[in-house]
Amino acid sequence: MKKSYLALLLLPGLVFLAAFMVIPILLTVGSTFYHESRFTVEGYILFFKDPYFLKIVWTTLRVSIITTLLCMVLGFPTAYYISRQSPRRKGLLLALAIFPLLTSSVVRSFSWTIILGKKGLLNNTLLSLGIIQEPLNILYTPTAMIIGLIHLFLPLIIITLVGVMENIDSDLVKAAESLGASRFSAFCKIIIPLSVPGLIIGGILVFVGSLTAYTTPALLGGKQRVISTFLYQNAITLNDWYLASVIATIMMFITFIIIALMNKLATKLNPKGS
């Protein structure tokens, strides 16, 4: 078959994406610049001049960044361990890692309310062991949000890292050791740099997921608002689609900026990679 015919195979998917993703996104973004039948950037000016909005953005960014960093720290050793196993064990361990993804995020977030609550599993255990005297206030705080989001997104970073790590040639480590490098410095100088692409892709997935997550902040977060719950309030309760579109566009831009920054970081850490 000729190559030009092969391109036709893309058509159904492309049409679908154009109709249901590209065009709606363009309409949303476009509508933020054209309000009350004139061109305007008023919505953005209002947004960025308002300390209340900026505080919401800051809370969201802080929660997403902490979640991403903790997922990297927790995911990296796990992924390294899994990637060093025999194929059979690897399959089993990966399946276990992915298992949480098969449950709805509502169920997963809700179950944390039972663990983290004032009379929850965690507080009861700590109280009965005498470690604390008063129950800890974790539920309905940003900490609870972060815990829920890590649970939600840790599998993503593990999967991406395992995919990258199992393609690292183990002879490289042996070569380094034979040339006198300690195991630790071999790990730092070979495994870590070569895993950077996986870390970056996984990090982006976790970050974007945390930034846009709605269920977990709505269920586990307290009085603090994040962008997604604020967006929901504007669109559904207030019916203010203009401000909702402005917020949606700002969310998209934040995502793009973060992806660009992470890619830059990746080239810096691993100049020969990708």
């Binding site: 997935l205 269920t215 307290g222 559904i236």
Partner: protein
């Protein structure tokens, strides 16, 4: 091996998508199949909440269907979703059930038909407060509930709660939930705060300041009553304003739960029914409203503890009245907010509440 990785990658992406959209899917209930019986039954589309569907099917819809040879189709969902659907004209609804707060929005959007009161004789039997809560042109309230305060006496240090201002007592701090300003009962709490600050006329600034004072002791602002019930059941909270109808759910978990009608007065929560502009079945819809207000049906709904009755002819024993808002004594004392005033100010209130209170 590579394929395997690709498979995982697509699963990953699917996971992200699912996580992102987890909340988007909303079940839609079109209540029964569309196969109308022989003899060309007319179709009457009713938009309502969808709770206690079995009861309403059997006791409200079926008798009416048989008597008038109609086929009732139910569209279920929450207030905001259903109102939006009618606004965009995407569903052929004849009758819509909404809380007064959302019904007022519908009126302002010009969505409702004027009702002909002479065609609804049962109106004369219902409490005056329910006859025309949003004006003579629009539909009645078929149920009136009260918003009071529920609490768990074991957790509130022996403090007896009597009034709205007791919400500010230190015993309730960190054990309290308050409706979010965007919930139907949110504006009522704003009004209660204004009263607690010592005003007889509503004072917005003082109400906001009073709520800000309360904020550190609030565990979470609830959006749906089910959130309240969950937090109460799990011991996260021990007190807060709630609709009397839901107190039975609290008692299942905490039998000692107390519900009080605050001394300043409880707030009337009214659910209204309206006819959608352009409905081809206006007369049939009016007959249906009349049937819903009838003594016969109102009594059944009250005994089943589904809706508090507005029909004054309904008589209940003390046991039957347990947990529902019943009797002239109670109903006539309820405070009713001016929904027009609420709607005019709501956007500003939400904004101030977000910025000044919850910060």
């Amino acid at each position: 091996m590579k394929k395997w990785v690709q498979g995982l990658a697509s699963l990953t992406i699917l996971g992200v998508v699912l996580a992102g959209c987890g909340n988007a899917a909303k079940p839609e209930n079109t209540g029964g199949a569309d196969n109308a019986p022989k003899g060309e039954a007319t179709k009457l589309v009713i938009s309502t909440w969808g709770f206690s569907a079995d009861f309403f099917n059997k006791e409200l819809y079926e008798p009416f269907e048989q008597e008038h040879n109609v086929k009732i189709v139910v569209e279920a969902g929450n207030n905001a979703d259903r109102l939006n659907k009618v606004k965009t004209g995407s569903s052929p609804v004849d009758l819509i059930y909404l809380s007064d707060y959302y019904a007022q929005q519908g009126i302002e959007a010009g969505l409702f038909e004027k009702i002909d009161r002479s065609r609804i004789p049962n109106l004369k039997d219902i409490y005056e407060v329910a006859q025309a809560p949003l004006g003579e042109d629009f539909g009645p309230a078929y149920t009136v509930g009260q918003l009071g305060i529920a609490y768990n006496p074991e957790e509130t240090g022996g403090k007896e709660i009597k009034s709205w201002s007791d919400l500010w007592s230190p015993e309730l701090s960190k054990k309290l939930t308050i409706p979010n300003i965007t919930a139907t009962s949110g504006p009522m709490i704003l009004d209660a705060a204004s009263r607690a600050a010592g005003n007889t006329e509503f004072n917005e600034d003082q109400a906001m300041a009073k709520l800000k004072e309360l904020n550190p002791g609030v565990v979470k602002y609830y959006n749906q009553t089910s959130d309240y019930v969950n937090m109460f059941t799990q011991g996260e909270i021990a007190a807060g304003p709630i609709m009397e109808m839901y107190v039975k759910d609290l008692k299942t978990a905490v039998p000692g739960t107390k519900f009080v009608t605050p001394t300043e007065g409880a707030y009337a929560i009214m659910n209204t029914v309206n006819i959608i502009k352009g409905s081809k079945n206006k007369e049939l819809a009016e007959d249906f409203i009349n049937w819903h207000l009838s003594q016969e049906f109102q009594e059944k709904a009250a005994k089943a503890k589904i809706d508090s009755p507005v029909n004054m002819k309904v008589s209940l024993s003390a046991e039957e009245a347990e947990g529902i808002t019943y009797g002239a004594d109670t109903i006539l004392k309820l405070i009713k907010l001016d929904m027009k005033f609420v709607n005019e100010n709501l956007k500003n209130w939400i904004d101030r509440f977000n910025r000044e209170v919850t910060q």
